[in-house]
Structure formats: structure tokens, C-alpha cells
Amino acid sequence: MTMIEAIQNALDIAMGDDDKVVVFGEDVGYFGGVFRCTAGLQKKYGTSRCFDTPISELGIVGTAIGMAAYGLKPCVEIQFADYMYPAYDQIVSEAARLRYRSAGEFTCPLVVRMPTGGGIFGAQTHSQSPEALFTHVAGLKTVVPSTPADAKGLLLAAIADPDPVIFLEPKRLYNGPFDGYHEKPVVSWKKHDLGEVPDGHHLVPLGSAAIRREGQAVTVLAYGTMVHVALAAAEATGIDAEVIDLRTLLPLDTPTIVASVQKTGRCVIVHEATLTSGFGAELAAVVQRDCFYNLEAPILRVTGWDTPYPHAQEWDYFPGPDRVGRALQQIMEA
């Protein structure tokens, strides 16, 4: 199953199980979403549970908050993460704080799905990775799957969660895994080890990381597309890296991270977002705090550069296996 199918499947299951689940966003109704993640849902569940909206991200999230407060469980789509900014006020000032403000009287069980990340020549407005803008906000949970099975299991967990969850879908992984070698043909999810998706109510609890590759020499912290890049870099360099797929950024699975770095003594962090104040900064701060006496070298971050996301230079911007590999070598030599 592709990640798109897995997401569609999760939405289908959630809607089938619970009338309170409603799905809406730009082009998600009749057409089924520009990436087809909501294909067939309007036909199956009717126009009042799956519908197109006006092009207003503020309106999408704003109405969803009202619906969540009423008692529904909206799972809305922002067409690209790059377009979430008009809804940012509603997410940060409203969804994230409703429970707190009202001391639990009103709550906001809301999922905001959005395709994220680069690798499709989408330039500045179809490539961004804004996760750090969510992890800084108390009251939100932030999730980034890297496999179809996780996409399904985490999305079902997000919908079941009583609080607002930002669900970032690495669009470069929608149709197949991606290891950063864009010249190589894409392996489809069907033919990939990680392409298997359990049937039915498969749940992956929020807040638990997965160790994708065990290793003794260095810990790589990654999420989304970068998990596959990190695995490719480990293969390519032959360095005995332990690759941790964070899956949920907030709440963070600190115990898994700390246990690994305490074992390896080295840590490389990889993400697509710009370096400065990226989520890697938080990871570095946590790791140096909790593993200070185990660290044998400075923590390295391999990330997007501190520039807007370019078009032609996409593969110079994207943190590929070469850059990650160089970081692995550098940290082993440190």
C-alpha cells in the first residue's frame, strides 16, 4: 500500500467507526484531494461528512475548532504545509489553548493533516517543513510518519486523541520510499519492506519513536523522509549507525533517544527544515542535557540551509545521503 492509500484507509476506518469524524478541506470532497488522500470518502459518507471548502485555511481550521468544541472530530486537510500560515493563529492561539483556557470545559479533538517537505521540485511554496513552528506551541502534538503503516497507525491514533494534533505527511514518501538519490528509479511501497500495512484498526501510539536500524557507533535522529536518507547514508558509509525514527516530535520519546545516545556516545540530527531554530535545535539541547557525560563529539545537525526553498537547486538544498554520510564520517573522526 502506498502512504496515500494508507492515509485514505485510516480516514475511511475512522469515518466508518464514528459518525463524529468529518473530513474537509480544499478539493478534498468530490475530487478526493490533490494528492487523492480523501478519494472516495465523499461518495461513501456523504457531502456533510466530507466536503470541499472555500480557499481559506483560516476558515478550515477555524470552523474545525468550532466543530471540535461542539463534539465532532474533524480531520482537516491543508493542501500543502506551506499554506498553513493563514491558519496559524487559529492553531496556536485557539486550538492549542482551548482546553487550558476553559479548564477542560471545552476541548479540541482536531487533526490537521498537511503534506510537508521537499523533493518534488515544488519550490518555496510546496516544499516547506514547518514542524518547529508547531513544536514550540504548548497544547499541540506534532506527528510525522515515515512509512505507510505508521501513517495509518499514527493517523488513527491522532484522530482518537482528545487534543489537537498536527499531522505532517512527507509528500515525497506518498508514493514510494525515498533515499535521497533522486536520479535512481523510485521503488514502490509495494515492493518495499516497510510498505506492508496492517488491516483494520492498526494503532501506533503517539509519543513513541521507532528504531529503524540498530547500531553501536552513532545515533541518528530523523523523521519523515529523512529516516530513509539516514538509512541510505548508513548503508553507503558502512558506519554502524542506529537510526531512530522519531515519529512523534511532541511529545518526544526522550527515553528512546537518550538510551541510544548513552550507548553510542554520538549523535547526528537530520531534518529538511532550515537549520536555525529548527526542531534539531531542540533535539540537540535535549541530548546534550541528558547525555552530556556520554557524548564523545559535538552533536551535528544536517538540515536544509537557512534560505527559502529553491526550485532548480532543490537537490543542493535537500539534505541527501552524501551530506548525512559526511556528517557520520565527521562525527566518527571527532
Partner: protein, 410 residues
């Protein structure tokens, strides 16, 4: 182009500033009873006139006249008067309490009491308001305990929000009063979503959104009109035009449109303007709009024409930007005096009963205040625990937050 004149920027200015003599005599105010009452299913395009007029019921003699009269019983009218008097007395005490340092901040309703008090009486249990900070009348008229309101203002141990929110940011699901945000306008679109949810669920409840004149400039207002118009959401979109947004007169937000109600015309949403200082008119129009929503006929915009007689908040001194006499010159009068006159004219009330009621109301407020202060105020008595600061960020406290709570010593 060379022959074109040079451009210049137009910046709207109020007609008078401190030191000037306000004169509203050119403001066209329709006589009470003269504005028609359309059927609730009348087409929006056939009722555009109502966005440029003012629906009024009470005339200068205190009589209720015209097609919008007669929506309330005698008892309801007496209740209405008491609600407004209670709100005013409550405001006065809390304002003073703030000056005495018992809390950090307060916002009063002076002159605007009719709007939230009368609107509340047009709703049914289960309906939900998405209020701003100037609709406490919804709670008072709904019978919400005043002691609890005061505990909220004092941020004491019995504040239902555990001291987390700014004073006057009440919340009561049971009383159809959605948690106040403080970010202007954000809740306008949420009200539309709540109403859509009711429709999706084949429920019967409707929502009421609230916004000030100044805040209609915010993005959420537009989103609300777009979504309400598209999905015909069962929501009443209230605009309280009290002429001022802190120091900024309504001409800045309104721009070239005649009225705020007219904003609805671009969306095919029926829009009514009503005398916000006329309890009867407010109630009648609210009832009409609520019924429209309830019958699945879609949203209605209601603009309440009123005047913010007090400062914006305890942090504000209006004498810095408008004539002190503007409030007295304001032509729509005082909502309490007008309803009182009506009740007297109808033989349902008298000066003595009014004095007596004032005393009773004050007693009630003072008793509540004593009770609240016996619990605590912002800086004294029993206050919410810092431990509480870490609760309700999530349904379940995540590990990192628990760790922080421990670090804080709780």
C-alpha cells in the same frame, strides 16, 4: 499620466476630538416603529434596506410601537430591567475592585447592557454563544452565579479557570458561553463551525457569534461570512457597533461602506441594524434571527448600534481621544432608563420600585462580592495553586511537562 493630478492619502477622521463640541443632530435616526419586519424567509436581496436603517421599538414616550413590538411578556420585561441593572451594578463594583488592586484588569459594559441581556432571552438551552469580553449580560441574564463570575475576575481559588485567564474571560458550557479568547475575532469563525457541526449532526441547536465594530476588519470575520454564506450555517452573526475600538473611531474599520451590517450584502446574508440601546428592539431582532437559523434558513447579520460610554478597559482613558461630552450627546439614550420609562409608561413599574430594585440589586452584588472576597482576590486569600498551571495543557500530562512541574516544586 503627466496631466493626472498628484495623488494623496485619505485618512478618515472623527468629526470631533477632545475640546470640540459633539453634535449628532445630522445623524439620521429613524422614528421608532417605522422599520418593516420582513418574513423570516424573505430573500436577502429583497431586504437590503434593513442594513441602512435602525430598527427601533421604544419611542421617546417609552411606548413600544411598530411591527417589531410585542415579543416579551410583562414579567420578562421586568426581568430584563433587573438583568441590566444587575450588570451595571456588577460592573461598577468590579471596576472599583480593580482600582483597589483586587484584580489586574476589568472591562465594563456601560451603555451596552441591553444587547447581551436581551439577546440571551431569545436563545434556547443548548445554543452556544461565542462572546467577546463585553457580553457578560449573557451570563447575568442566563442566571449564571455572580459569585463565580467574581471569582473569575479575582482569579481566586474558586475561579473555574483556575486563574489562568484574564479577568472577565468567563467560560460556561452549561450556560452557552464559549471560553473567551482575547484574540479579537478568532471565535467568529468558530461559531460558524459550531453551527455547521449542529447541522451536520442533525441537531436543533444554533450558535451566536459576537464581534465589535473594530474587529470586523480581522480576517476571521471574512472567513466567517464566507463559510456561513456557503454552508448556510445556523448562526447569528452579531456585530456590536459601539462607535469605538479603543481610541479608534468606527470610520476606520467601516471605511466607505455605509454601515457594518452592509458587509453582509457581498455574501447574500440578510443584515439588520438595530437600536442597541432599545431592549425591546434587540430582543425582537434577535428572536427573528435566531428563528431563521433554527429553521435552517441560514445566517443573519445583526448590527447593534450603541455607544461605549466608558473607557475601553481599566487601562484606558477615553478623554485622551474623544470629547468627554460625546457620551451624553449620543442620541440613542441609556438602555436602562429607556426600559424603565417603558415599564413605568405601561404601569408595570414606578420610581419607588426602581429605587428599591436598585438597592436590592446592589445588596445582591455586595453579598456576592463579600462571598468571593472571602475566598480570595488576585493577591490575597486562597488562590489557585501553581501546580494547576501545568494541568489541562493536554488531557494527559506528558512526561516533559510533569518533569517541569516537579522542577517548579509541585
Amino acid at each position: 499620466m503627466p496631466d493626472a493630478p498628484r495623488l494623496s492619502l485619505h485618512v478618515p477622521e472623527p468629526e470631533w476630538r477632545p475640546g470640540d463640541q459633539p453634535d449628532f443632530s445630522h445623524v439620521k435616526i429613524p422614528r421608532a416603529g417605522t422599520i418593516r419586519r420582513p418574513e423570516i424567509n424573505e430573500k436577502p436581496e429583497d431586504m437590503r434596506d434593513l442594513a441602512f436603517s435602525i430598527i427601533r421599538v421604544l419611542n421617546r414616550q417609552g411606548e413600544a410601537v411598530g411591527p417589531w413590538a410585542g415579543t416579551l411578556t410583562d414579567d420578562e420585561l421586568r426581568d430584563g430591567l433587573r438583568h441590566m441593572m444587575t450588570l451595571r451594578a456588577y460592573d461598577a463594583r468590579m471596576l472599583m475592585a480593580q482600582r483597589q488592586g483586587k484584580t489586574s484588569f476589568y472591562m465594563q459594559h456601560l451603555g451596552e447592557e441591553a444587547i447581551s441581556c436581551a439577546f440571551r432571552m431569545a436563545l434556547e438551552p443548548g445554543d452556544m454563544n461565542f462572546p467577546t469580553y463585553r457580553q457578560a449580560g449573557l451570563l447575568i441574564a442566563g442566571g449564571y452565579p455572580m459569585v463565580t463570575m467574581m471569582c473569575q475576575v479575582y482569579s481566586n481559588d474558586k475561579d473555574p479557570m483556575h486563574g489562568r485567564q484574564l479577568p472577565v474571560f468567563y467560560s460556561s458550557k452549561e450556560h452557552g458561553f464559549f471560553s473567551i479568547s482575547g484574540n479579537l475575532a478568532t471565535q467568529y469563525i468558530q461559531a460558524v463551525g459550531w453551527a455547521m457541526a449542529s447541522a451536520i449532526s442533525h441537531d436543533r441547536k444554533i450558535a451566536a457569534a459576537w464581534i465589535g465594530d473594530g474587529s470586523t476588519a480581522e480576517s476571521d470575520f471574512h472567513a466567517a461570512l464566507v463559510f456561513a454564506s456557503t454552508y448556510k450555517a445556523p448562526v447569528v452573526l452579531n456585530i456590536v457597533n459601539n462607535q469605538w475600538a479603543i481610541s479608534t473611531f468606527q470610520g476606520i474599520a467601516r471605511g466607505g461602506s455605509g454601515t457594518f451590517a452592509a458587509r453582509g450584502h457581498g455574501f447574500g446574508i440578510p443584515a439588520l441594524r438595530v437600536d442597541g440601546n432599545d431592549y425591546l428592539a434587540v430582543h425582537a431582532v434577535a428572536k427573528w434571527a435566531v428563528e431563521r437559523a433554527r429553521r435552517n434558513l441560514g445566517p443573519t447579520i445583526v448590527e447593534y448600534v450603541t455607544y461605549r460610554a466608558g473607557g475601553h478597559s481599566t487601562s484606558d482613558d477615553p478623554a485622551a481621544y474623544r470629547p468627554k461630552t460625546e457620551s451624553d450627546a449620543w442620541p440613542l439614550g441609556d438602555p436602562i432608563l429607556r426600559l424603565k420609562l417603558h415599564l413605568i409608561a405601561r404601569g408595570l413599574w414606578s420610581e419607588e420600585r426602581h429605587k428599591q430594585a436598585e438597592a436590592e440589586v446592589l445588596d445582591g452584588v455586595l453579598a456576592a462580592q463579600r462571598e468571593a472576597e472571602a475566598i480570595g482576590t488576585l493577591h490575597t486569600g486562597r488562590r489557585p495553586s501553581p501546580r494547576d498551571m501545568f494541568e489541562d495543557v493536554y488531557a494527559q500530562m506528558p512526561a516533559h511537562l510533569l518533569k517541569q512541574r516537579h522542577e517548579a516544586g509541585y
